[in-house]
Amino acid sequence: MSTLVLLEHDRGRVRSSSLTAVTCARLLREVSGADYDLLLIGAELGEAADGLARLGARSILLAEHSDLSAPLGGRYSAVLAEAARSRGAETIIAAASTFSKDILPRAAALLDAPMLSDVTHVKAGPGGLRFRRPVYAGNAIATVEVAAEQLVLTCRPTAFDAPELQGGETPVERLRIEPSWLEDGMEFVSREERPAGRPDLTEARVVVSGGRPLRDSDTFIRVLGGLADTLGAALGATRGAVDSGIAPNDWQVGQTGKVVAPELYVACGISGAIQHLAGMKESKVIVAINKDPEAPIFQAATYGLVADLYEAVPTLTEAIRAGRRAGDE
């Protein structure tokens, strides 16, 4: 009985949000006694396994092949399914992201296993494990049970803490890749490269987010960028802002975009549609700045300020800087 955890990495650097799946696997180990193995898939994994030695896994499995340089759904799901078979894994887990959402359902189909998306809680019930997951954009929480030998699941990163490091060494093993697994009729062409600078949206401690009132991408960056940089924050956006080209798609927060739960979420010119709230309402502190006193975002806000964001955001940025300067003296 074991669990297989698929980790996501960027050129060998494991994404910290993906490690929340290890916490979920530990929870399963407490409940059912199942050990867990970690799986990395890629072309040049290099030293990637080194940082994983103290995560308490039974083994680290590397699936390395030159044709696995880009995460194509066909071959990655075949490798994942074969890795699960080779380990006799009953449960396959990854943290929810576009990477895992592309691969895990297909692997589930190859294994003939059911799947749960965005699991937020796991506990023992009378008839086996019980899971909770949000449905209807988080407006309802479903409690579900699964009747199957094998289960595939994604866990919602915001619902699980980062795993604490444990003692001990973990053996590293290599999975033998069969050429047939790689024949999927899919070819990687290109990926947009973004200048790094601000923290990753799903990993940031603070998120500054904007809606359509920001007008255009230059205005968005000019008005919100200063506040974001003062706070060391990632930038986020509403669907409306992304649809109208004000912000890139990977900044979208919401039901169908990214789900974030930072310590501080600053919503600027965001009305608060349920689809947007679904992606940020678990944030610890929510600030809403909006001209419209009736905007639904104020019902979710810890602190609400009815104001024109074009005046309030620069003033807030300056007030925070001034406060810091005073604190330094």
Partner: protein, 251 residues
Amino acid sequence: MKILVPIKRVPAPETKIRVRSDGTGIETEGVTFVINPFDEIAVEEALRLREGGSAEEIVAVTIGGEECVEQLRTALAMGADRAVHIPDARLLDPPGVARVLRAVVEREQPRIVLMGKQAIDDDCNQTGQMLAGMLGWPQATFVSKVQLIDGGARAECTRETDAGLEVIRIRLPAVLTTDLRLNEPRYVSLPGIVRARGKPLETITCEELGISVEPRVRTLRLDAPASRPAGVRVTTVEELAARLRDEAKVL
């Protein structure tokens, strides 16, 4: 070329969802049901491929009770050529839906299955990938741009990923799942509604497809999410900064 577009009946996205007090589901009284918005984008993309000369026939399919015929009629009114209704009033899980769709694919032999990346009711985001896996077909998920290349032998797809836009090429036949930016679906026109009445709408049972599916994921109950404690309105930026610093201690 034939395109199969699976669609799902869901509450309209602007619906204020309320959980029934006994936890058995959501309140449906007064709720308007529509085609799942991502599936509507799939119907629109299929229409554009046909209008661009790349496809000849668009078949919409749904699985569900009699009420789902309403959404098939909408797809026909948008411009789909035919519709198939698989009557099954149970709540199937995504593997169950994918197995039914695989049987429909084997019967209809489409070159492309175009469907929403997720339904906005159960938010699973699984069915398209599962169908592709069962068929052994290439997949392009979360697509925001589709272009047929190599004389229709392959498709070049732009995908919306967490890291930004990604471009892949896949061999057809394939399964494509749609993201929001792919297109803006057209409104249903009155002539479209009239024409839809004359279009074929076939009912095929799972038995006729030669399959039986049993859901393995069982929903025990639904609960309303925990509500956030009421916040406060601040009157000035200075007050906001002070509270963030001294009260919330997040600065």
